[in-house]
């Protein structure tokens, strides 16, 4: 009998860690038991997006979207849905707004507002099957390029499309290609920057896991356009699944004659090697990445000469980010005009974001440029959970900035975000609510960048540490008003004098929080108050005499033995000296009698 159902089980790293492989096995086992193996196929795909709801799976042709599936649900799903056609309601995605169960993926707002170009195949095809990639128009663009186009025609299409680097800086991709094409050298290299290091970012990982051939095809097209013969994909060793799927894809492409010598029997030669990075943030900087591939210590090199002129092993080198590579084949297939019809004049196309933090639907999303931050956070992200108010959204990771509520209607574009003191970045987007302390957030990013500083230049190595000292002082309650000016002055010096992008952008989180939330810095300094009640040195725990019923639960649970009292005789009392401000009493008190205060003298 012919196949009538495709069951797509998400096998992105997030779903794998919530045991999607066991779900897949259980489903296959139940399908086998019911004698439906010929009619139903279970396919593993890349990331579908709503990672928080994993393991997720999608059943076609009806489009039923299951969430939080466990292996023990397999029998019910097979018996009820696959055999009798009754989707298992309790496992379907429920629309939080309408409080109704959604029967088809099409009706889910999270998916509805997205425009999938780069992620088109993610969650739709089996990333380990080159046949499925080919079925989804894979390698057609490469075939057309090699047999029907001249190298400069390829570069012209990319230039005309207006595609800009998705790594974050937004440099026009076509121009970069042209520089490398114009450069002379014995050999030329094409490199994929997959050194994704921003906290909370997983766009590159998901694309490499979900559609590895798209990156390979993009790189091969570029190699033909600029005249390169070797390629490297630089990827973090901490992404084992992405590496495995890439290796599978590379061998399949070689075997099919789509990589290696004589590609598409045109005589064109190009091959790709995977290089694993050890996880240094600075290796995302292109010259440090080049040093790392060469086997040197991963530190930045002086530019110019730019890699386009003298890069890897001293040869002209074209470096693009994973998502940029993912766009190439679509632009070749559909044309520059089509690409420009998506997004805005200055920022055409789509952008992938990893949505995380205080937002209902965390996960991977792709939107057309020009969509407002509000639409992304509230319509796709579903807004801030638990009724806590929205405070800010952080874009661009440790190099970016925080954007407050009054600018939520800003369209997402390279320039507009820059004007606000943030950056597009590679696509990390962290939502913050009223429980986030902005000084603490700035401190968090500074801790990250100062520990990731390679130490090569003094402004970054020493300057970031001094900034961190000041931020620690402020959050400890020992800050003084001149500290705010010191932070601003130090930031300027570090930006002006650092050797590479890491130092040049590291002060951004401090500057943007100072720009929009300077009052919080002032409160920490002048009133010793942390309004979000995050900075432990500035908060005190107190038991409300009237609300306390003297049950003793708080005292029993206090790890510091800081609470004393007699059962049945309220109130219990917290010894402020002994209290470690862990918040356990607040969590366990059944009567809400524990209060947290800040700035009360």
């Amino acid at each position: 009998m012919t196949r009538r159902l495709d069951v797509l089980v998400c096998s992105g790293a997030a779903c794998v860690s919530s045991h999607s492989a066991e779900v897949r096995d259980a489903l296959r086992c139940e399908i086998e038991k019911s004698g439906l193996s010929d009619e139903i196929r279970v396919v593993e795909t890349g990331c579908m997006g709503p990672c928080e709801l994993g393991p997720v799976m999608l059943v076609y042709p009806d489009g039923a979207f299951y969430i939080h599936v466990k292996p023990e649900d397999a029998e019910e799903i097979v018996q009820e849905h696959f055999l009798k056609g009754r989707p298992v309601q309790r496992l379907l995605w429920e629309d939080p707004e309408a409080r109704r169960i959604v029967e088809s993926k099409k009706q889910i707002a999270f998916f509805e507002k997205q425009v999938k170009v780069v992620l088109k195949n993610c969650g739709r095809i089996d990333p380990e099957s080159i046949e499925e990639y080919i079925a989804a128009d894979g390698y057609e663009a490469l075939g057309v390029v090699l047999t029907e186009m001249k190298p400069d025609e390829v570069i012209k299409v990319i230039t005309d499309s207006g595609l800009r680097g998705r790594g974050g800086a937004g440099f026009p991709t076509g121009r970069k290609w042209q520089f490398v094409a114009n450069a002379t050298g014995e050999t030329k290299y094409v490199v994929c920057n997959g050194d994704e290091g921003d906290p909370g970012a997983f766009m590159d990982r998901s694309l490499l896991e979900g559609d590895p051939h798209a990156v390979i095809e993009g790189m091969t097209i570029a190699a033909y356009a600029v005249g390169a013969s070797r390629g490297y994909i630089y990827i973090r060793a901490e992404y084992p699944l992405a590496i495995k799927r890439l290796q599978i894809a590379l061998s399949a492409a070689r075997e099919a004659g789509l990589l290696g010598e004589n590609i598409f029997e045109t005589g064109f030669l190009f091959d790709i090697e995977v290089r694993m990075g050890a996880g240094a943030f600075v290796c995302g900087e292109e010259t440090a990445l080049i040093a790392s591939i060469e086997g040197e210590r991963g530190i930045a090199r002086l530019r110019p000469p730019y890699p386009a002129v003298r890069g890897l092993f001293g040869m002209p080198t074209l470096i693009n980010n994973v998502e940029t590579w993912g766009n190439i084949r679509h632009i070749i297939l559909n044309g520059a005009e089509w690409f420009r019809s998506i997004g805005t004049e200055g920022s055409p196309g789509t952008k992938v974001f990893a949505l995380s933090g205080k937002v209902k639907n965390t996960g991977l999303v792709e939107i057309p440029m020009g969509m407002t931050l509000r639409e992304l956070v509230f319509d796709i992200g579903g807004g801030v959970p638990n009724g806590k108010g929205f405070k800010a959204v952080q874009t661009g990771g440790p190099s970016g900035g925080c954007i407050p509520e009054e600018y939520l209607d800003t369209p997402i574009e390279y320039e507009s975000l820059k004007e606000l003191g943030a950056i597009m970045g590679s696509g990390g987007m962290i939502v913050m609510d009223k429980d986030n302390c902005m000084v603490n957030i700035a401190k968090f990013f500074l801790e990250f960048t100062s520990s990731e500083s390679c130490g090569q230049c003094a402004p970054c190595r020493i300057g970031l540490h001094r900034m961190l000292d000041i931020l620690e002082r402020i959050t400890n309650g020992n800050g003084t008003m001149p500290d705010i000016d010191r932070l601003k002055r130090l930031s300027k010096t570090i930006i002006d004098t650092s050797f590479c992008g890491l130092g040049k952008t590291a002060p951004n989180p401090v500057l943007s929080t100072l720009k929009y939330f300077e009052n919080e810095y002032r409160e920490h300094i002048e009133e010793k108050k942390c309004r979000a009640k995050v900075c432990t040195d500035l908060i005190t725990y107190r038991i409300d005499e009237d609300a306390c019923r003297a049950c003793g639960i708080c005292a029993n649970n206090c790890p510091a033995g800081a609470i004393t009292g007699k059962p049945g005789k309220p109130p219990y009392v917290i010894d402020e000296e002994a209290c470690v401000r862990c918040g356990t009493c607040l969590e366990v008190c059944p009567f809400g009698a524990v209060k947290v205060e800040s700035g009360v003298l």
Binding site: M1, L5, P61, R124, E131, E132, D137, G143
Partner: protein, 121 residues
């Protein structure tokens, strides 16, 4: 591999992905409740899927549903067009199902002798 070879592979492989587009001109829904299965709905379903695949009708999807309440007319098959027009057929057999595919789905003439309900879009 040449570009023509790639295109040949794609044509073959594309059938594999056709289920996943989520777009369909016609949706055929087979009642697979207990009484439907008892009356032979599994054979009807198999015949439908087979006929549709033989004719390479890529814009037709076959799905199932539960009990409709019309136990006496089982197996029941519903044919739903994209414009919302619905024809429900009763007392289906594998053979009759193949006729529905040929006459209704391909040629656009509902098979009135088996139809038990018609709703305009």
């Amino acid at each position: 591999m040449k570009l023509e070879d790639l295109r040949k592979i794609r044509e073959q492989a594309a059938k594999d992905l056709s289920l996943r587009t989520g777009e369909a001109r016609v949706k055929v829904i087979v009642g697979m409740g207990t009484s439907g299965i008892a009356a032979g709905a599994r054979d009807v379903l198999a015949a439908l899927v087979d006929e549709i695949s033989k004719r390479d009708l890529r814009d037709v999807v076959v799905t199932q549903t539960g009990e409709r309440g019309l136990s006496s007319s089982e197996p029941v098959v519903e044919v739903r067009q994209a414009d919302g027009t619905v024809v429900v057929y009763g007392d289906m057999t594998a053979e009759r199902a193949r006729r529905v595919v040929a006459e209704h789905i391909v040629n656009g003439n509902p098979v009135s002798e088996y139809a038990i309900e018609v709703r305009e879009g």
